[in-house]
């Protein structure tokens, strides 16, 4: 794909052609991502609607399919109120700081066996860095707003994200030990073989911890105490309106999709086909790896995000902290020790 783009821009001088290729390939990722975000908001309202025996939005266009665009349009023509006590500059920088990492983390995600924007060798480290970076947007928003609800929401959210970050990092170390590389493409290749070779089986506890920590990290229900609309109204973005709010919203949903794709990539073999390695089916077209498998696997986790929100009541804050520190960290440390011994001693069937 990138080579095709490069040939498309070959009439330009070399430097410009390279830049144009990069920009075009980024757009290939970014535009569908934004559409996915738009339709995730739609799907969320529809799915939760059906789970609660309602219809959800169904007025704008066929089945309400144009609802997200109507929402964007409405948000765009709403006033952005900057409260008088707020630090004006930081107030407006905060949504940018949560949006930029939510988007830029996609640069290293391998979408097909060939297509990855930037196949750097430190891919996983980069992902870890950028997903951690999102907390600055939240803290800064809460502090700059200078409103008590926003401040409380930001403090809670920061402590929560920080607590789950550790469990997430440990889970990533487990993936590294099994995959033997920081490059996401190589991690996926290390999982090839069959469904049983994917890391979800040997790393099952880490897989669960990573996904649950991901839900907590994105401040989604049942861990949404940062927003907690029934106690602190909307938490850190209580004073944000219009487009400034839309940026936070965009970042949150882009992060949800990112976590789903990361879980699919790290533990369920990314673009590898689930039919690979099965005698008859695997030799047909079904066995071929491609983007469609990554999309399907991520869609399952994305659906779980919505499902959780419709199912679970909100955790109490001390329970959240207990789960993060006293349950997840011991689980991950124990599993890392077990895995370390398995890898170092070449114990089969996975680690030899």
């Amino acid at each position: 794909m990138i080579d095709w783009l490069r040939s498309l821009f070959s009439f330009l001088p070399p430097m410009l052609a390279e830049l144009a290729t990069i920009v075009a390939s980024i757009m290939i990722v970014l535009v569908p991502l934004i559409l996915c975000v738009a339709y995730t908001t739609y799907a969320e309202r529809r799915v939760i609607g059906f789970m609660q025996s309602r219809l959800g939005p169904n007025r704008v266009g066929p089945f309400g399919l144009f609802q997200p665009f109507a929402d964007v349009l409405k948000l765009m023509i709403k006033e952005i109120v900057v409260p008088q006590n707020a630090n004006r500059f930081l107030f407006l920088v905060a949504p940018l700081l949560s949006l930029i990492p939510a988007f830029a983390a996609w640069a290293v995600i391998p979408l097909t066996p060939e297509f990855v924007l930037s196949g750097i060798d430190a891919g996983l480290l980069y992902v870890l860095a950028l997903t951690s970076f999102g907390v600055y947007g939240v803290i800064l928003a809460g502090w700059a707003t200078n409103s008590k609800y926003a401040f409380l929401g930001a403090m809670r959210s920061a402590a929560q994200i920080v607590a789950y970050e550790i469990a997430m990092g440990f889970a990533l170390v487990g993936v590294l030990m099994a995959g033997g590389s920081l490059n996401l493409q190589e991690i996926i290749q290390a999982q090839s073989g069959s469904v049983l070779h994917w890391f979800w089986l040997p790393l099952f506890p880490l897989f669960l911890v990573y996904f649950i920590a991901g839900v907590a990290e994105t401040n989604r229900a049942p861990f949404d105490v940062a927003e907690g609309e029934s106690e602190i109204v909307a938490g850190f973005h209580v004073e944000y309106g219009g487009m400034a709010f839309a940026l936070f919203f965009l970042a949150e949903y882009a992060n949800m999709i990112l976590i789903s794709v990361l879980v699919a990539t790290l533990f369920l073999g990314g673009w590898l086909s689930p039919f690979q390695g099965i005698p008859v089916l695997g030799d047909t077209l079904l066995g071929a790896s491609g983007f469609i498998w990554l999309a399907l696997k991520s869609a399952i986790f994305l659906f779980c995000f919505l499902w959780f929100r419709a199912t679970f009541p909100r955790y109490r804050y001390d329970q959240i902290m207990r789960l993060g520190w006293k349950v997840f960290i011991p689980i991950t440390i124990v599993w890392l020790a077990v895995e370390g011994v398995l890898v170092a001693l070449d114990v089969g069937p996975w680690f030899n």
């Binding site: 008088q84 930029i100 830029a104 924007l117 008590k148 401040f151």
Partner: protein, 123 residues
């Protein structure tokens, strides 16, 4: 090698520019009719009693400090985890495992200590 990072730089720039453009559009298309009531901080209809930037629970600091310790631990584990499976001889591999085992054990002792001290309690 290094040119692999160019797309990341461009991506960061593009997402930043996109955010700024969207914010700008919001300011451009949205109305702007400020009045003192609208601009006052939201506190369920009350006047704000005091400045928000007040003292808060020290446990938030504690969590942040503990986080730094464990996050550094993860940063040390990363390179170790990548090469653990690649050592040429069994002996070196066992040595690598044992040295990280000692490092982790020290941190686990610290973790147990803070647990017993009640640093992780939250009520």
């Amino acid at each position: 090698m290094l040119q692999d990072y160019v797309p990341i730089l461009v991506f960061l720039t593009i997402s930043g520019v996109m955010g700024i453009v969207m914010l700008g559009l919001g300011f451009l298309l949205g109305p702007s009719k400020p009045d003192p009531e609208k601009l006052s901080p939201y506190e369920c209809g009350f006047e704000a009693f005091e400045d928000t930037r007040m003292r808060f629970d020290v446990r938030y600091y504690l969590v942040a400090i503990l986080f730094i310790i464990f996050d550094l631990e993860i940063a040390f584990l990363f390179p170790w985890a990548v090469v653990l499976g690649d050592y040429a001889t069994k002996g070196v591999q066992i040595f690598a495992l044992a040295s990280m085992g000692i490092f982790l054990a020290i941190l686990v002792i610290g973790f147990i200590y803070e647990w017993k001290k009640g640093a992780l309690e939250w009520d």
